[in-house]
Symmetry: C2
Subunit: 300 residues, 2 copies
């Protein structure tokens, strides 16, 4: 007997007949004719190598055979899985399901909250998973979308979300002018993020200008950088959005740099076809970024 030559439609027929008792009623329920069901069962019996129903003849209903019971048991498993698949597919198309997003602090704190709120208001049961994996060469593996401060690998799809101006955050007494010349940072005690990604680029650019700050503390936490500046430990060069809600006050001052460093460019990366949910997240993110830019939040 040959292996697994049966079709889902045959198994549905088996189930319907076993449930309804007769070929005719099962055919009605499935929207077929009795003739079709007879042939489907015949095909199934060819596939499994023996009869699945006893047909006593006359008005007596069909009775399932031991072989039929064996097949039926598995058939119901498969039909249930098919149903579940259909539901998941429908949910997928409706914009539900799951989306895995790579992000980083600024995006998580500034951009994503309204995006997530909008998604969850449309699809309360959608499964949004955020992963913060700030490494030098991040990967898209296992992610549907990834926010990144650069255009990423050339074979990826991308959209540029915003340009985030680099500003100087300094203890209040340190600088007066609203614009500070970059070379005044040479030798100055400085707080920094770990030297990867944007922070690395900033330091490289300063070095190209002959400026070598003296890093006295590094932390991966944007807010902690600002707090240390606030404590007077040193100053910091940060993308404006990374400063959070910090603005010039009685402890810190924010300054533009002269010459201005190239801004941090935030991209959203993905690869190939997106799920409707992920596409919606992308579109909402683009809109949110446009709002941020036009509201002036990315420029001092």
């Amino acid at each position: 007997m040959i292996i697994a030559m049966f079709e889902l439609r045959h198994l549905a027929a088996l189930d319907a007949i076993a449930t309804e008792g007769t070929f005719g009623r099962a055919a009605t329920r499935l929207g077929y004719t009795q003739s079709t069901l007879s042939q489907q069962i015949a095909a199934l019996e060819r596939a499994v190598g023996g009869p699945v129903f006893d047909r006593p003849g006359g008005p007596r209903p069909a009775r399932i055979t031991p072989l039929g019971r064996v097949v039926l048991e598995h058939a119901r498993t498969m039909l249930a899985a098919a149903d579940a698949a259909g539901e998941d597919i429908a949910r997928f198309h409706a914009g539900g399901g799951r989306v895995d997003v790579g992000t980083f602090q600024t995006v998580t704190n500034v951009l994503l909250p309204p995006v997530v709120a909008a998604l969850r208001s449309d699809h309360p049961d959608c499964d949004i998973r955020l992963v913060e994996d700030e490494t030098e060469t991040p990967t898209l593996a296992g992610l549907d979308l990834m926010f990144f401060d650069g255009p990423g690998a050339p074979d990826l799809d991308r959209v540029r979300l915003l340009a985030d101006e680099h500003v100087l955050v300094a203890p209040r007494a340190m600088f007066r002018a609203s614009r500070v010349a970059v070379d005044r940072l040479d030798g100055v005690p400085m707080i920094g993020l770990p030297p990867i990604c944007d922070q690395r680029r900033v330091e490289d650019q300063l070095a190209d200008l002959g400026v070598r700050p003296r890093f006295v503390f590094r932390t991966a936490d944007n807010q902690a950088v600002v707090s240390m500046v606030r404590g007077g430990l040193g100053c910091a060069v940060l993308p404006l959005l990374a400063t959070g809600s910090a603005r010039s006050d009685d402890q810190v001052t924010l300054h533009r740099l002269r010459p201005a460093l190239p801004p941090r460019e935030v991209y959203l990366l993905w690869q190939g076809t997106l799920s409707p949910l992920a596409a919606r997240l992308r579109d909402l993110s683009v809109a949110a970024a446009r709002d941020l830019t036009s509201s002036g939040a990315c420029r001092l």
Copy 2:
């Protein structure tokens, strides 16, 4: 998007391509051509309402899409179930699997042991389940085979296994002759099984002959009946096989009755098509019964 119009073969293609990476290798593995797999995936994509693979073009391999992942997850469930079904079907045809048998004490103790031994020697993993349900009108529901002391309902299939002579079991001092006239049992203290099935027929037949024994103890346990006779509590009329290995000794004597009561006829009943395992059990039971009969074990 339409519901569950996909076929197992499409899901197998999906799985193979997701595993192998390219349509061509997957086609080779499945024994199809690349063209066929392209068309199968196209059909699947029509069924699920969207692409399941991104085809980057050129020598780059196909990559599964989010929708493809959703489908693939369920596909693997269904394919695993199909595999399991195939294995169960193969086991079924080879004579393995499960069989549910209704039996009763005599059959369990005398007939079945060698039958079960033979079955389990052929198929060590076969699942033989015995149910002792000694009621007046037993049912075949949930059973593949049923041993019964009568021909059963007319719409059942049956085979007559053996005729088991009714004998008198008496305390040693009670009767001398090897044949005892039935009417000598009138008023005699007697041990009996519950008055159903064969026991009921025996009592009816005695009553028809004007014989009314005095039942002083009833138990459903054949061996307990003999034990009570051995204790001198009374005598008993039993089918010979129900006496187990009891024979005339220094405590009990076995006697033929005059006139002989009709023997207990043991049938094996079933309905419709049997599984190979059940058919084998039936055939072995017929052979075992023939052995019992020809060895004289059913006649004193």
